[in-house]
C-alpha cells in the first residue's frame, strides 16, 4: 500500500492555546497520512503534556481565552484535550524533555500516559532522518 513510512519531527516550546492546537492538528493529520509522528515538548511546551492542562491565549490576549474557546466550539473545531487524546490513540510519539522537567519541577506522574522522557539527542536522532521538521 503506502511507500516507506515518512517521518515528521516537531518541537513544541510554547504552551499558549494557538501553539497548543497546531502540533495536535499537524500530528493527527500526519498519522492519517501514514507518517510516523514524533513530537518533542520542551520548556513551556512541556505543560501541554500535563494532565488536565487547559492552554490559554498569551499575554494581553489571555482574558479572551474563553471567547476564543467558545468560537472554536461554534465552528466544531475539536478541543485541545480531544486532539491530544486522538494523537495518543493514533500512535503519535510524544517526548517530554528531561531537562525541562527538572527545571520546571514536573514529574512523569504529572503527565498524560504514553509520554516518553527523552533528551535532545534522542529527538535529533529521529529528526536526522525525518522528511519534515517543524518548530512551534
Amino acid at each position: 500500500m503506502a511507500q516507506d513510512k515518512k517521518k515528521i519531527a516537531i518541537v513544541v516550546s510554547e504552551n499558549s492555546l494557538d501553539k497548543a492546537m497546531m502540533p495536535m492538528i499537524l500530528a493527527t493529520s500526519g498519522i492519517a497520512l501514514d507518517a510516523e509522528v514524533h513530537v518533542f515538548f520542551t520548556f513551556w511546551g512541556l505543560e501541554l503534556l500535563k494532565k488536565n492542562y487547559k492552554p490559554k491565549l498569551k499575554g494581553m490576549m489571555k482574558p479572551f481565552t474563553g471567547m476564543m474557546v467558545k468560537k472554536m466550539k461554534e465552528q466544531n473545531i475539536a478541543t485541545f484535550e480531544e486532539l491530544r487524546a486522538q494523537c495518543i490513540e493514533l500512535g503519535a510519539k510524544f517526548y517530554a524533555c528531561s531537562t525541562s522537567m527538572a527545571m520546571m519541577g514536573i514529574k512523569q506522574a504529572d503527565l498524560v500516559d504514553g509520554v516518553e522522557v527523552a533528551g535532545a539527542t534522542k529527538f535529533l536522532k529521529i529528526a536526522l532522518d525525518a522528511q519534515v521538521t517543524l518548530f512551534i
Binding site: 500500500m1 503506502a2 493527527t28 492519517a32 497520512l33 501514514d34 466544531n76 475539536a78 493514533l90
Partner: protein, 76 residues
C-alpha cells in the same frame, strides 16, 4: 456510484474529517468504497492529497450545493 460505507463529516473542522476517514478506511477491505460527505472547504484539497499519500484511489470528488461528496476506493 455504490459505496460500501458512508461517513458523514458535515459540521466537522480540520483535521477531524481526515482522522475519521482514516479510521473508517482501516475497517474496509481492499477494493471497497467509502463515501465521505464533507463541508469543510479544505476537504477539496486535503482528500486528493491524503489518497495520493496513503495509496487509496480517489474515485470521484464532486460538490453538491455546499457539500462535497468524495468516493474513495481502498488500496490498489
Amino acid at each position: 456510484m455504490q459505496a460500501d460505507k458512508t461517513l458523514d463529516t458535515r459540521g466537522m473542522a480540520c483535521p477531524m474529517p481526515i482522522i475519521k476517514t482514516k479510521k473508517a478506511m482501516d475497517e474496509l477491505k481492499d477494493g471497497e468504497v467509502l463515501l465521505v460527505i464533507a463541508d469543510d472547504p479544505g476537504a477539496k484539497e486535503d482528500f486528493p492529497a491524503w489518497c495520493e499519500q496513503t495509496g487509496n484511489k480517489l474515485v470521484s470528488i464532486e460538490e453538491k450545493d455546499d457539500d462535497i461528496y468524495i468516493y474513495i476506493k481502498k488500496g490498489e
